[in-house]
Each structure stands twice: as structure tokens, then as C-alpha cells.
Amino acid sequence: MTPRYLPYVLILPVTLFLGVFFLYPFALVAKQAFTTGGGFTLDNFREVVGYWKFPISLKNTMLLAAIVVPVQLALALLMATMVNRMQKGRDLVLYVWTIPLGISDLAAGIIWLAIFEQSGFLNSMMTGLGLVDQPITLLGYQNPWLVFAAIALAEIWRATAIMLVILVAGIGLIPKEYYEAAEVFGASPWKRFVKITLPLLRPSLQTALILRVVLAFEVFAVVVALGGTLFPVLMGQIYSYQFDLMNGGGAAALALIVLAISVVFTLIILRALRVPKGATI
């Protein structure tokens, strides 16, 4: 076999795989969403958008992403810069901080349920400190904001690690000489962070944000574990269209809406954080 064909032979399995399990199902979803019985129609979209739960689940999903992603970005940047100047115990601290990377959203939801449920640790602490006389219902319809806060905390707890890993790797690629030069000219640590780290970190920030934002729109199991039906989100709606309502067309239409939102945000992030041509390290 000549080397000329070798690369194509090597990438063939992945291409076939993604063709069958990524592009083809994608086409199927689109077809299912735009048809009901026969012919092209927008009925499925009209139906899911008109359903009373749609605006609230869209709002919840967006609000959650809008709160969670910026907090995670700030936290991940803080942690990455802290790790970067660490001399002793760097490996141990990094291991601890990346543990949530391996934890599923379902498990994270269950973990935070242990804290927020009525006989959970938060209530135990509050009664222990004498703040409340008896355990109060934290995750109930009486406290919608608390349900939201618990879900947001669980998401921040779980998924900051993936951003941290990407940013630590990115910071490691920035030449140390830049910082030394800046120090010689008397730049403060904050100034060095804003003028060197942030601009040179753009490719990593791009990757981290795209990954996180897309995953934020997919939020599902955390919400089921903590909020049940109190906090409807788009993924949960898709699930209930498929199984509770037995409406495959509706599920497909809603899936396309989530896909469209994800793609739009990916493009926005790509555009906002684009790296000028030729401006690599």
C-alpha cells in the first residue's frame, strides 16, 4: 500500500462512524421534525412552541446557562492562575480540583440532593446552629429560587473542572518570557493577567466556552434529581415528549431547536473570541 492512500484508509473508520451515527441521525431528526404523516410541515414546531411549558423551560435553560457559565469561567480562570504559580502540592491540588470531571450530572444531582433534601445536611447544619427550629422544605414549590440555586450550585460544582483542565493546558503554552518581561517593566499581577494571560488564552477560552455552553443547554439529569418537575428544562421536555407524550415528531422538533440554539451560540463564541490571523504564540 502506498503512503498516498494510507491517511485516507486510517481516517475511513472515523468518517464512516460519524457518517452513520452523527450525520445520518441528524438528517433523520430534521426529517422527522418537518413531517407529520406526509409532506413538509411546520406543525411539529408550532405544537412544541405553543405548548405552555415551552416558554418556561426555554427561560429556565437559558437562565441557568447565563448564571452558571460565567461563574464557571471566572472560577476556572481563578483556579488555573492559582495552580500556575503553585510550587508545592500542585499535582495533588489539581487532582482534587479535577475530580468532578469524572462525575456524571446524575451523580452530581444526587450529591447535592444529600445537602438540600429536607432531612439533608444543610437543614442539619442550620438546626445545629440554631438558625431554624425544625427542618424546612428547601426543594419545594414554595422556594422556586432555592431549587434554581441548588441546580446552579450542582452544575457549577460539577462542570467547572472541564474548563479548568482546558485553561490550565492553555496557560502552560504561554511562554514564561512574556511574564518575565512584563515584570521587568513593573506590571502588576492583575495587569499581567489582563494583558498577557487573557489575550493569549483565547484559543483555550474558545474551546472551553463552546464545550461548556453546549453542555449547559443539555442540562438534564441534575435537574431531574434536584427539581423533579418543579424546574422544567428543554432536555427534560424532549424526554417527556418522547416517552410520556409518545410524540416523536415533537421531540425531534424540540431537539432541532436545542441544536439551533447550540449552533448559534457556538458561532457567537467563535466570532467573539476569534484569533487574529498569524497571531499565534
Binding site: 486510517l10 468518517t15 441528524f26 456524571s104 444526587i110 442539619s124 460544582w157 438534564f220
Partner: protein
């Protein structure tokens, strides 16, 4: 500069150092304390888990875990999870690693397009594609089987497998291979005798990463399995009705492999993103 300036500067630096150490400790606690709470609940008797207030030290009672193991369908779900994750691990490496090698060693037409396709998959909420696949699987007899779900999970894991192996192969100088060729190795034997031994730990790490992706996946698993539920899908289905101690023991079983695996692959977590960003 006077003596007081120097000492106040040193004091400031020391207080800054304490602040720094305290924040590191605080952020470690932020990660570990919720895990500790889950551990307490798992190692307490079902009665304690449902009582109030909660103890802050585990009582080392195996009641909750025994209940978990005895719950109908749970052990089967656990087994299914392992089977699907192992299949995902094998398939994603077998399919992804050659592409990673091709990307790192060859310049070829369509390389940019191919990378684009791989990267594109990460910008999509992939579990959604389980919906149409459910129909396709019923037609092909793959519905509700471990292999069917593993195929979907492999699609999730492939972009990572390709990018990780790409960065691993890029880390091995092509000169090593060229030296082997001049010494009489073919392209294939040079690969198996020189490159493969060097790359094996990294391949193992990316295999473990694929395992964790599959192990943790909830949505596609819940959509594609009915009788042969994986642990995540089973727990999700039981969330509404299951007693608290079952949920916590299940959560704990989900978390344990993650802890071990992240520890095993910690060296490679960063290398793979460093180059894959480019």
C-alpha cells in the same frame, strides 16, 4: 528604602500568602465536602439516612449498600453499565486512534475538512441524536442492546479519542520512526515496535476517558434501553419512587470509578488539551 518599608512589604507578602493558601484550601473543600456528605449517607443505615438531623461522621453501616445490591434489577444495571462502557472503550480507540495517527503524521487533501467534522461533533448536543437512532435500532434489531448503546457512546467518545491520540502521536518525533525504517522495519513494524510501546500509557488513558464518558452518560442510555438499562438510566427511572438510601448508594457507586479513573489519567488530562486546542 527604610526598614519599616521592608518589614511592611514582607508582612503584606505574608498575608497575601496566607490568603492564597486559604483560597486553595477553600476551593479543595468546595470539591471534597459534598463528596464527603455522599460518603456519610452511603455508609449509614437506611434508618439514619431517612432520619434527622444527619450525623457528620459516617457510622460505617453497610445497610444502604446491601439494600442497593439487593434491589431488583440493580446489579443487572451495574453489569450493563460495565459492558457498555468496555465496548465503548474498545471501539472508540480502535476507530479513533488510526485517525489520530493520520492527523499527526500525514499532510493530505481534506485534512482540514476531516478535522472540522470531528470538531463539529463537539458543538452538537450529541445525546439528542439518540432519538432518531432509537427508530433505526428497532429496525436493525439493535434496540435495547449493549452494543447499540455502545455505538452511540462511541460517537460521543470518538472526538476525544481522535484528539487525544493525535496529540500523543504528535509528541513522538517522526525521526524515531524514520530511524526504524532505515534499520529495516516496514511502516507497520516500525509502528508496533517503536511507536506503540511509547504510546501505550497514553492510549490507556484515552481509553479510560472513553469508559468514563460512557459510564456517566444518562440521556441516550435512558432513551435507547428499556429492559437492559444501564446504571444511570436505571437510577434516573427510579428517582421518583426510590427511597433516599437507594439514591445515595447508587450515586456513590456511580462516583467511585470516576475517582479512580481521574487519578489514573491525571497526567494526560492536560497534554491532550494543550495541543488539541490548536
Amino acid at each position: 528604602m527604610t526598614a519599616t518599608d521592608v518589614s511592611s512589604g514582607a508582612a503584606q507578602r505574608r498575608s497575601g500568602h496566607y490568603l492564597y493558601a486559604a483560597s486553595v484550601a477553600l476551593l479543595c473543600a468546595w470539591v471534597l465536602v459534598p463528596l464527603y456528605f455522599l460518603l456519610i449517607n452511603t455508609l449509614s443505615s437506611p434508618d439514619t439516612v431517612n432520619s434527622f438531623p444527619k450525623p457528620f461522621i459516617p457510622e460505617f453501616d453497610w445497610g444502604s449498600l446491601e439494600f442497593f445490591a439487593g434491589y431488583e434489577g440493580m446489579l443487572k444495571a451495574l453489569k450493563n453499565s460495565v459492558v457498555v462502557a468496555v465496548l465503548t472503550m474498545i471501539m472508540s480507540i480502535a476507530v479513533g486512534a488510526p485517525a489520530g495517527y493520520a492527523l499527526s503524521r500525514f499532510e493530505f487533501r481534506g485534512k482540514g475538512l476531516f478535522r472540522m467534522l470531528v470538531l463539529l461533533t463537539r458543538a452538537f448536543p450529541l445525546p439528542l441524536l439518540a432519538l432518531p437512532l432509537a427508530v433505526m435500532f428497532i429496525r436493525t434489531g439493535l434496540d435495547d442492546t449493549a452494543i447499540g448503546l455502545a455505538l452511540v457512546h462511541t460517537t460521543l467518545a470518538i472526538p476525544f479519542a481522535v484528539l487525544i491520540t493525535f496529540s500523543l502521536f504528535s509528541g513522538i518525533p517522526i525521526e524515531l520512526e524514520e530511524a526504524a525504517w532505515t534499520l529495516g522495519c516496514t511502516r507497520f513494524t516500525a509502528f508496533t515496535k517503536v511507536v506503540l510501546p511509547l504510546i501505550l500509557p497514553g492510549i490507556a488513558a484515552s481509553a479510560i476517558f472513553a469508559f468514563v464518558i460512557s459510564w456517566n452518560e444518562v440521556f441516550a442510555a435512558a432513551v435507547l434501553t428499556i429492559e437492559n438499562r444501564t446504571l444511570t438510566a436505571f437510577l434516573l427511572a427510579k428517582l421518583g419512587e426510590a427511597p433516599l438510601h437507594l439514591k445515595f448508594a447508587g450515586g456513590f457507586i456511580l462516583v467511585v470509578p470516576a475517582l479512580v479513573f481521574i487519578f489514573a489519567v491525571r497526567k494526560y488530562l492536560f497534554a491532550m488539551w494543550g495541543i488539541a486546542n490548536r
